[in-house]
Every structure is written in C-alpha cells, then in structure tokens.
Symmetry: C2
Subunit: 166 residues, 2 copies
C-alpha cells in the first residue's frame, strides 16, 4: 500500500463543507466540540474533512428534524465504524433505527390526540384525572406495554370531570 489512499480521498476545508452542507462554519466548529464530527489539521492548523462528513451532517440534520437531540444523534453516529468509511449498509441501519424512533413519537402523539379528543367531550383537563393533564400516565403505560385507551377506569374519569374543578 502506498499513499494512494490519501491521494484518493480529497479533504475538504471548513468553508467548503459549510457551503455544501448549508450550515455555518461556526456550526461545524460547534459540532466538532460536541464530538459529532471530526477533522484533521493541515500544516497551517486549518481543518480538513473527509468527504463522509457531509453525510454525517445530513444525518445530524435529519435527526434534528425528527426531534432527536444532538446527544442522541451523537450516540447513534458513534455506532458507525471507526476503522473504515461507513458504507451504504451502515447508513441504512441508522435510517432504520431512527424510523423506529419516529414510529414511537408518532404513536405517542396519536395517543395524546386520542386524549384531547376525549377531553373535548367534557371540556375537562382535570388536574387529578384528566390524562391530557397527566401525560406521564401515557409514558408509564407505554412502559407497561398497555395503552391508555385500554384503561376503562381512567377513560371514565376523563368524562364529565369539568364540574369537579373550577
């Protein structure tokens, strides 16, 4: 093996990356301090990036659009191989992972929606019993594997609870 691999992998400057990824240079610095991306330095101490940094940034942006925090995104990115440039299957695996996350979020929103639905009937939002007020119940229920709507007692409590409060 010669230096061929270095010749074959052009390095991008921070400005080039910023332009191509449509983010500010300061954002790249910021991501680097947070360990989301990596760079090497040239003789003059300027950052140089491998091309796959573009895909990492794409992943970061996609994750953010799904409401995933940078910390979680970092964890997901850390599952990528260090030893080689991530390939198609590596990225696809991440897509699948996030799709599952997204499914959970959507399901959560749907449950909240059902509750708001139920609350319209009684104009409630009772502090004690209204599930809309206590969405932790949903989460707890989620952990139990049971769905709130399957919980007749709570469901009933949500009906006509308006008068019990101001």
């Amino acid at each position: 093996m010669t230096v061929a691999s270095e010749r074959d992998e052009p390095r991008l400057s921070v400005g080039q990356v910023a332009k191509r990824a449509d983010v500010a240079v300061s954002t790249l610095h910021f991501y680097e301090t947070k360990g989301l991306i990596r760079s090497w330095r040239n003789a003059g101490n300027q950052r140089r990036y491998k091309k796959d940094v573009l895909r990492r940034i794409a992943v970061i942006k996609a994750g953010q659009k799904m409401g995933i925090s940078l910390i979680e995104i970092k964890q997901t990115l850390s599952t990528l191989p260090e030893s080689r440039t991530p390939n198609k299957e590596d990225w696809a695996r991440m897509s699948r992972f996030w799709q599952a996350q997204l499914d959970e979020k959507i399901a959560y929103m749907m449950r909240v929606r059902e509750m708001v639905d139920g609350c319209i009937g009684c104009g409630c939002l009772s502090m004690k019993s209204c599930p809309m007020y206590n969405p932790e119940d949903i989460v707890a229920t989620e952990a139990n594997g049971a769905v709130w709507l399957d919980h007749p007692e709570q469901a009933k409590a949500a009906k006509n609870c308006y008068d019990s409060q101001n």
Copy 2:
C-alpha cells in the same frame, strides 16, 4: 351586588397552587412574568390566585406535551374571556384548537417517516436530492398544498442516490 362574589371565590396562595398543580413556586412566578397566569396580592404583598389558574396550568402543561411553545400557549390562553371565569365551552374550544395543531404535527411526522422509509432502500441521505436531508421541501410543499410523495421526480431522486456521494 355585595361582596358575595369574593366570598364565593376562595383565593389560593402560591404554595397551594404549586402543590395542587405539581409545579414549583418559581415556575408560577416565571409564568406570571411571561403573562401566562395572573394573581392578585393580599395585604402582605403575597400572591393570591383564583381557582381557575389550576386549569390554566393544566392547559399550559398539556400544550407543552404537544410541543407547543409558551408563547403560542399564551396566545391561545389569551382567547379566553377576561370578563368572566372561563366555562366548559371555552376550554373545549381550546382543546379543539390544539387537536388541530396536533394533527398537523402528526401529519408532518408521517411524511418524514415516509421519507426515511424511502431512504432505507438506497441507504442514501444525499445532500442534493434526498428529501430526508432537505425536509424544508416538506414544509414548502406543505405550504403549496401538495404532498412530497406526490412529487415523482423528487421521489425518484431518493432512489439509488448513494453512489453519487461518498
């Protein structure tokens, strides 16, 4: 009219509200500075609340669970009548309003999901063409009234775009 209305409407102290609504006293101070709730002062300059502040806080918490910012929540709350204690229909109207917001958010997430779905097929996330990378397209499309999936060209661009990038 006598002072009957005052006798009939017990006022709560900040500590009582905090306990019943399960929020910190500092949070109530904070909400007050932001104009989300109101209080009156007793002779000793201590806050006193009308009971319906509990419902307002319930609404604030419910809105936050739906990902609505305090500013938007404030705007929604400002649609409540000033002249009288909000009634059942007032609160129900708010529920309906937020249900619509929630529907939009769910729809947005579903569209993002569709895209991630498409991206799994090619392991892409291309900077140029992948819709997962350019979710603004969704929003823009949303404004146009058209749905991304109805856009065959973009949909096609999402296929096999892996090789065009690192």
